[in-house]
């Protein structure tokens, strides 16, 4: 069963079409990322799914509920980490987490949640004394304290240092291992790549590509590029003829566009071994997710 089902979703603010007709499904237990630049419609989409905004058109179903109705039974099963939301400054970390846990039918243990997000040593600190990154981790704690089946994460690691990001990723991974469904928005490519089972790239209110991070935008079938440095004393003409005419020289490197990198590599390395030379700086690359992303979001904007 799908945890989230979105069909033909539109949201207009006056003349502006923030979400211009999008469709997607998120399966139970899946981590799905909406990836896109600022203003692409990510947050609007997520806030419609969370029940904060009314849609202008389309069908939306989240855990079998229409989020617009804002039923208590719906809110008991979701966890929300908003992009920005305040916390009472004069309460301690423990007080806030305990308070929010009390709103849910089967909350997680407050102390355990605080440890999970790495705020164990800040348990009794007033929230106003936390750094930006620590407050964000408290946001995460409040999102999971209700033990939700579905967790919304709206740009959860913006402003984190690299180690805090790693920790948050591990936490999100562990939630997924528990069978939770996660809907994530981010503009970090590596975050989508690390966390998501599937990614939808959204630009100007539309989904321009959707798939696993590996296959997105045809990345898995696109031509690979083999590059290496020519051994001393060898020229392009010395390379095996089977490599075809996809060969190019770029200063001291040779670049080879290949639709069959396994075969071409075999040919190439066989040739090198036979000659007793080492191919320096040998590498096989495919277009990165970032290349795909920039191409797709750039095209949609232009």
């Amino acid at each position: 069963m799908a945890a989230i089902r979105v069909e033909g979703l539109r949201k207009t603010y006056g003349e502006v079409e923030a979400v211009a007709g999008i469709d997607f499904e998120v399966a139970e237990g899946e981590c799905f990322a909406l990836l896109g630049p600022n203003g692409a419609g990510k947050t609007t989409t997520v806030e419609i799914l969370e029940g904060y905004r009314r849609r202008s058109a389309g069908r939306v179903e989240v855990l079998g509920f229409d989020p617009e109705r804002g039923e208590r039974a719906f809110r008991e099963r979701i966890g929300i980490v908003l992009q920005s939301a305040g916390i009472d400054r004069e309460l301690s970390v423990e007080e806030v987490v305990t308070l929010f846990g009390g709103y849910y039918p089967h909350p997680r243990d407050a102390a355990e949640v605080i440890d999970l997000v790495g705020l164990g040593d800040k348990r009794t600190a007033r929230t106003k004394t936390l750094s930006g990154g620590q407050q964000r981790r408290l946001d995460l704690a409040l999102g999971i304290v209700g033990d939700p089946d579905l967790l919304f994460l709206d740009e959860p690691t913006t402003g984190f240092d690299p180690s805090a990001r790693r920790r948050s990723w591990e936490l999100v991974d562990s939630l997924r291992d528990l069978g939770k469904t996660i809907l994530l928005t981010t503009h970090y490519m590596d975050e989508a790549q690390n966390l998501a089972d599937r990614v939808a790239i959204i630009a100007a209110g539309r989904i321009v590509a959707e798939g696993s991070p590996e296959s997105l935008g045809g990345r898995d079938v696109a031509e690979a590029e083999i590059s290496f440095r020519l051994p001393a004393g060898a020229g392009l003409a010395d390379l095996p003829a089977e490599l075809g005419d996809g060969l190019r020289r770029d200063e001291d490197r040779v670049l080879l566009r290949s639709v069959a990198p396994t075969r071409d590599l075999h040919t190439l390395t066989g040739w090198a071994v036979a000659r007793g030379v080492e191919l320096e700086a040998l590498a096989v690359t495919r277009p990165s997710l970032e290349d795909v992303y920039l191409r797709l979001t750039g095209a949609a904007r232009g």
């Binding site: 904060y52 008991e76 305040g86 009472d88 309460l91 709103y103 209700g146």
Partner: protein, 272 residues
């Protein structure tokens, strides 16, 4: 599905949580509790023994104590609620609460009951100081009327505070709007001195608003010359009418999120 938290304990927790916030914020505690007490000490010491002919010759302290108590209640409930809610909304605290299963009515009820609780605390403090330092007499036969008047007034001014919070654009405007709507009226509404000898138009203006009616109803319960149980039904009806109108405005216009630059259309809050 596991047991849903029961309404009673949930509400009690909300009240405790708001109480904690109130006590940890030095400004709210100061304006609601210390400020009126300071006035009482000051004015009570200056001329607490003066006789008020317009009130049957009672001592000034006997008038001033309930008058300043009314002031304290309005500060706590009206000003405190308007500023507190608008600030919480600006900070995104309301939006976060909105995303949890806590019924929105319970959140608002928690804030209202907390303000009413501190109105009672204020009453105990003020009357204790009045009795202890300025020989104020508690008129026991009218004590039930005093308590009912206090709580009804507190609830109505909470509703007015919520209505103001719903109508103003942001938290910065809240103290300005709340003080400019309350303080000028306060001076013509028998909170600090009787206005029986004021020009007719002043009395007419003050009579429109709930402040004077609340003050008079509360002061009567401390006036030994007022006969019977001390319920000022006419005054209470005006206060209640304002409270009811404010409730309608607050319910219809309440917002859980800050207004985003006016680009977004006004949304009506859905209440569960």
């Amino acid at each position: 599905m596991a047991e849903r938290p029961a309404t009673g304990p949930l509400l009690l927790r909300q009240v405790r949580y708001q109480n904690k916030l109130f006590l940890r914020n030095p400004f709210s505690a100061f304006f609601a509790l210390a400020f009126p007490l300071m006035f009482l000490l000051l004015f009570g010491s200056l001329n607490g023994n003066e006789r008020l002919d317009v009130r049957g010759g009672i001592r000034f302290a006997q008038f001033l104590t309930p008058g300043l108590l009314a002031f304290a209640v309005i500060s706590t409930c009206y000003t405190g609620m308007a500023v507190g809610v608008a600030m919480s909304r600006d900070l995104g605290i309301l939006k976060r609460i909105r995303g949890t299963p806590l019924p929105t009515g319970l959140y608002v009820a928690g804030r209202i009951l907390s303000s009413m609780w501190f109105s009672l605390v204020s009453a105990v403090l003020m009357v204790a100081v009045g009795v202890g330092l300025f020989d104020v007499r508690i008129i026991w036969r009218m004590l039930p009327a005093a308590v009912v008047t206090l709580l009804l007034g507190a609830a109505c001014f909470c509703a007015l505070g919520l209505a103001v919070a719903a109508l103003i654009p942001n938290g910065e405007a809240a103290p300005v709007v709340a003080n400019f709507t309350f303080l000028p009226i306060a001076f013509i509404s028998d909170l600090f001195f009787p206005t029986d000898n004021a020009p007719a138009w002043v009395a007419a203006v003050a009579g429109v608003f709930p402040v004077k009616h609340f003050a008079l109803a509360l002061e009567d319960t401390f006036n030994p010359f007022v006969p019977g149980s001390g319920f000022g039904w006419g005054h209470l009806a005006v206060v209640a009418a304002w409270g009811a109108a404010a409730t309608v405005v607050a319910v219809r216009r309440f917002r859980w999120e800050p207004r985003a630059g006016g680009a977004r259309p006004r949304r009506r809050a859905t209440t569960t």
